[in-house]
């Protein structure tokens, strides 16, 4: 017994080192597995508040490009409205409470955005108080950004599409073939679409959209265009490089998507999983 205690006292620095190292490895491994990295996250009030403060200053430098983007978005929405034959007077009469859309969009501001690492996260300034929940989709006017992963009272962390853990269903606009969208960690403007069956007819420049096969994103949200493609080793699937519509290095405002039918869909799906 005496010897054990002596051993512990003699090696207390090494033991403390090993203990802390083990702890940091646990955090690291958790951060590499989807939906588990909850302990060390920037959604707490300290880092969230700090990034909000920093963002309130740096926002001024992006006002011009933000304005331009909003104007472009408005222009496009007006064009869509007139194409549908609705003028702005009748639209104003529609109340959102009577308007039974399956998806509701909430705006949020990006207060931290990473794109230079392998596992990138985005922090937004809306949280549980604004009824943001994990597994909601996040988009901009141009295309998808990621999925809400972790929420606190006032902040949420978004797992960016530029994250090695991110897997999103996506497919071709012109046909029904689909695959999963992943990122190889190299270029923040190019993501990869995998497991698209070889029967699909591809041409460079084809549009890739979300496919509505999950409950997260509605069908038809833009992702990017095909940059190039080739068959994988098994010769039965395509590997496609997709050039994103979004500039992931410059995201100011985003929209979160809440699926109103989520509960209903889940309740139908649940018994089949058992």
């Amino acid at each position: 017994m005496q010897q054990i205690i002596n051993f512990l006292i003699r090696n207390k620095h090494s033991l403390l080192f090993l203990l802390l190292l083990l702890l940091s490895f646990v955090f690291t491994i958790q951060s590499h597995s989807y939906h588990k990295s909850k302990f060390v996250s920037s959604t707490n009030f300290l880092s969230g508040g700090m990034y909000t403060w920093q963002n309130s200053i740096s926002d001024y430098f992006n006002l011009k490009s933000e304005n331009k983007r909003l104007l472009e978005e408005n222009e496009r929405l007006y064009n869509q409205l007139s194409a549908l034959g609705v003028d702005s007077v009748t639209v104003q009469k529609i109340d959102t409470s009577s308007f039974n859309a399956p998806y509701t969009f909430t705006k949020a501001r990006v207060i931290k955005n990473d794109y230079s690492k392998i596992d990138n996260y985005i922090l937004i300034n809306k949280g549980e108080n604004d009824s943001i929940q994990p597994d909601m989709g996040v988009i901009t006017d141009k295309g998808i950004v990621g999925i809400i992963e972790n929420t606190s009272k006032n902040y949420s962390r978004v797992i960016s599409i530029l994250n090695s853990n991110s897997r999103i269903n996506a497919g071709l606009k012109k046909s029904n073939q689909y695959g999963s969208l992943v990122w190889n960690g190299k270029d923040p403007n190019i993501v990869q679409l995998e497991t698209v069956p070889r029967q699909a007819e591809l041409t460079e420049g084809d549009t890739i959209i979300t496919h509505g096969r999950s409950t997260i994103f509605p069908r038809g949200i833009g992702i990017g265009t095909i940059l190039n493609y080739n068959l994988d080793e098994s010769k039965s699937y395509y590997e496609i490089d997709v050039k994103l519509f979004n500039d992931m290095t410059n995201i100011g405002f985003v929209y979160t998507i809440k699926n109103r039918d989520l509960e209903e869909i889940k309740s139908i799906e649940a018994p089949t999983n058992e």
Binding site: L23, S31, V40, D119, G185
Partner: protein, 168 residues
């Protein structure tokens, strides 16, 4: 003594703020960021309590992780260089470290550079191995470690030379 403690606490806070608010957003050439918060570990008093030093280094890294959403990679890397700092000091300064006569504020440029290179390289190898966490990407790890280390070493040397205290 008290002055030294205050100086170290101030350095701890300032380095974290500079790191997370400015240097994490540099992204030079797309992905390069200098990680100069380890200056705190480099400049910590040589006769500091070892357990306390390990614990502070771990908290320093974990704070950076919290701001950067990187799990525990900075905590692990900081912990490793804090643990191996005596070895680095001994190999660079030799006998003068053994007799506790070396002062980090007044050593020659060459010795300082050797010490910084040794510590930064160790830190970055651990950091990027854990961050990428995939040995099929070993070339990417090597590339990131090499270029980031160069960047960090240059910035660290600049900071050490510019903010040197002239109290000797």
């Amino acid at each position: 003594m008290n002055k030294e403690v205050v100086a170290n606490i101030g350095r701890f806070v300032i380095l974290i703020l500079v790191q997370v608010l400015v240097l994490n957003h540099v992204n030079f050439m797309g992905y390069l960021n200098p990680y100069i918060y380890i200056i705190f570990i480099l400049l910590a008093p040589i006769n500091i309590n070892k357990s306390l030093f390990l614990l502070i280094s771990f908290i320093l890294g974990l704070t950076i992780d919290m701001f950067g959403d990187s799990g525990g990679v900075h905590a692990a890397a900081s912990l490793v260089i804090a643990f191996f700092r005596p070895i680095a000091l001994r190999s660079v300064f030799g006998l003068s470290y053994e007799f506790q006569t070396v002062k980090l504020s007044n050593i020659s440029f060459g010795e300082k550079l050797g010490y910084v290179i040794l510590m930064v390289l160790t830190h970055h190898i651990v950091l990027f191995s854990l961050e990428i966490f995939n040995f099929s990407h070993i070339l990417l790890i090597a590339k990131k470690t090499l270029f980031s280390s160069l960047f960090t070493i240059v910035i660290t040397m600049l900071v050490l030379v510019l903010f040197r205290r002239n109290d000797s």
